[in-house]
């Protein structure tokens, strides 16, 4: 079976005056049709860069230095801009964090939706409006006909993000990349929006890459997770396995640092220090200065992702290499 998405050894660099900065250091993952994956990590881990680079949305001075992205078997990372436009917003849609920044404030919702449809399909304006109406009702927007004539500022935050989701669905994509889609929203609205996204993906067998720092949301929505740290994937596997029994010390720390339900006060587990700046990534395993299990080998050799054949998932940590 062809994978929906196959990312192979993707390296993204930023060309700076002081030299090239590696933001993404060889990441690999695959996504099957209809599969939902979470890309998790803290700011600066490279999760957004990973998401953007799939549809080559890295703007200068960033560039894809090596690696391949295969989408439905086609090597889209080699596509020229014109051909890429045919993929972006058509077969792969993207949802960004802030709906107010995504929507054009001076155009009505209707204009923006019709514009998107007509850019990708040869349809009449009337037909395009029908599609727009259909998608708006699909994301449970009340009185969709009225909304088409409204401007983004007339809608609430949750409603705006629904409109953005409706726009991303206009061309019936097979993959949606959502970059922190609910970070700007309140919890009750976040739950609504994420439940909607989950339902849509299930109904239309759409793939989803959910980029977020919120492990709670990821565990509700996705089937698998890739945890990123300093430009690399340090652990990946089925969501349940990673959430219930994380193996990489960073993932363990991240989960233990979350205030858990039922917990009554007490100190939270804290990971000492902070994520290294991309200009000064430590040699060996990038996590070793913060790791309580750091060994000599961690300072010298960068661990590669591997599986031991028993536990599901892959982990990049020397702790497990020893017992291999």
């Amino acid at each position: 079976m062809t994978h929906l998405l196959d990312v192979q050894d993707l390296v993204v660099k930023f060309r700076l005056r002081s030299g090239d900065l590696t933001a993404l250091n060889g990441i690999n993952f695959t996504l099957n049709p209809g599969e939902r994956m979470g890309l998790v990590g803290e700011s600066g881990a490279g999760k957004s860069v990973a998401g953007f680079s799939i549809i080559n949305l890295i703007s200068k001075p960033g560039f894809i230095a090596s690696g391949r992205v295969l989408f439905e078997g086609e090597e889209i990372s080699a596509y020229p801009l014109e051909q890429m436009r045919d993929i972006r917003g058509n077969r792969i849609s993207m949802i960004f964090q802030d709906p107010m920044m995504t929507l054009n404030p001076v155009l009505t919702i209707g204009t923006q939706m019709v514009e998107t449809i007509m850019a990708h399909n040869k349809v009449s304006v009337t037909h395009a409006r029908e599609i727009a109406l259909e998608k708006l009702s699909k994301v449970y927007i009340s009185s969709p006909g009225k909304r088409l004539g409204q401007y983004p500022h007339e809608l609430s935050g949750g409603m705006r993000q629904r409109v953005v989701i409706a726009i991303s669905l206009l061309t019936n994509p097979s993959l949606i990349i959502a970059d922190e889609p609910t970070t700007a929203l309140d919890v009750t609205i976040q739950a609504e929006v994420m439940a909607l996204l989950l339902e849509l993906c299930r109904d239309d067998n759409m793939g989803l890459i959910l980029i977020t720092h919120d492990l709670g949301v990821v565990s509700q929505v996705t089937e698998k997770i890739a945890v990123m740290y300093a430009g690399r994937i340090v652990e990946q596997g089925p969501t349940e396995a990673i959430v219930s029994a994380p193996r990489h010390p960073y993932t363990q720390g991240l989960i233990k640092a979350l205030p858990q339900g039922g917990g009554g006060g007490g100190r939270l587990h804290q990971i000492p220090g902070m994520m290294p700046n991309l200009t000064s990534i430590p040699p060996g395993c990038a996590f070793h200065p913060r790791c309580e299990h750091a060994m000599d080998i961690c300072r010298r050799e960068t661990p590669q992702l591997f599986g031991d054949g028993q536990t599901p998932g892959l982990v990049a940590c020397h702790l497990y290499a020893q017992t291999r």
Partner: protein, 340 residues
């Protein structure tokens, strides 16, 4: 954790805060029936909130954006003058004091803001940032005493005193939030309002700052009003929790009661929406509609437009905060009448 008493440190009684957003003269002119008249538009941010903050506790104020939780914090500290109502600190009414009389209370009540990038002056070194409030509130201290105090507080919050000569931009977000907390601690406060102090930080850094906040509570016997929208954090650190909706207090309860047995329909919906690790899918209570604007408040109970248990009384009569059998307090007619 230090035992807290039930003695109130800060009492808020019937606090109301409205903001006039009518704008200039020309903006206010409207024509009704052919005659020009002046209109005023007010945002009703807080509408009659009463609560006590007890000595030594962490009282969390939760609610969604626009519910008035930040306004409440700022009004309590006197950063906004209240429209009506009373605020008392250790039984001394402070909302009507002159700026001069307020000074000693400003020292005893400090604030930590959400965004450590915006709340530290970029042109001042950390030493200057920390010295300024100390020199202002303790003019009798000698230069060396102030410097000792800076070094001591920096150590307490976990920032190397050797970095005192650096500027805020040279620090990470977590470090900057530590400096904000240090600035509040410099004047030996008794009460700190922390307005979303960890929202701008990453998970692993959030844990560090939360631990610091709890350490300070223990070490200095501080009382906090902790304003946040992050319900898992609230569950971890608070003693009691106040749930707000549209400028009104819905429920005030001990943490265990609120999370184990939420009373008010809004609290129930809010808590059901927390994303939890290891849960699949969604089982949250869906609320209909959207939060109404605080310019045109609904009549009666402010939550009635979205409440599944609404009846005629809810539409007309504002519910009072009443005690519940489990010890919580909630403002809801349906609860009072035993309908839910």
């Amino acid at each position: 954790m230090k035992a807290h008493t039930t003695e109130p440190l800060v009492s808020i009684t019937n606090l109301v805060k409205h903001f006039d957003i009518s704008g200039g003269f020309l903006d206010r002119i409207s024509f009704a029936g052919g005659l020009p008249s002046l209109t005023t538009t007010t945002v009703k941010a807080i509408n009659g909130v009463s609560l006590d903050i007890r000595q030594g506790e962490i009282l969390s104020v939760v609610g969604e954006s626009g519910c008035g939780k930040s306004t409440l914090g700022r009004t309590v500290l006197g950063l906004y003058p209240p429209t009506s109502g009373k605020i008392a600190f250790r039984d001394m009414r402070i909302d009507n004091l002159s700026a001069q009389d307020m000074l000693p209370y400003r020292r005893r009540m400090q604030m930590v803001f959400q965004d450590p990038y915006a709340s530290l002056n970029p042109r001042m070194t950390v030493r200057q940032i920390l010295e300024e409030p100390t020199r202002f509130h303790f003019p009798d201290l000698s230069t060396s005493q102030v410097q000792d105090k800076v070094a001591e507080v920096m150590r307490q919050v976990g920032v190397d005193p050797a970095w005192a000569g650096r500027f805020p931009h040279e620090f990470s977000g977590g470090q900057r939030q530590r400096i904000s907390i240090a600035r509040a601690l410099m004047v030996d406060p008794e009460f700190i309002v922390a307005d979303e102090p960890i929202s701008a930080l990453d998970v692993s850094i959030q844990a560090q700052i939360l631990n610091l906040i709890m350490d300070c509570q223990e070490r200095f016997g501080l009382t906090y009003m902790f304003i946040t929208h992050d319900l898992s954090v609230v569950e971890h650190i608070s003693t009691r929790v106040a749930v707000m909706y549209l400028g009104t207090l819905c429920e005030l309860a001990d943490k265990k009661n609120l999370y184990g047995d939420p009373q008010h329909p809004y609290s129930r919906a809010l808590l059901s929406a927390i994303p939890r690790l290891g849960t699949k899918g969604f089982s949250h209570i869906r609320l209909k509609g959207e939060v109404p604007t605080p310019i045109n408040l609904p009549t009666g109970c402010v939550f009635h437009t979205r409440c599944p248990h609404v009846n005629e009384r809810c539409r007309n009569e504002i519910p009072k905060l009443l005690g519940r059998p489990n010890g919580s307090q909630a403002a809801c007619h349906a609860l009072e009448e035993g309908r839910i």
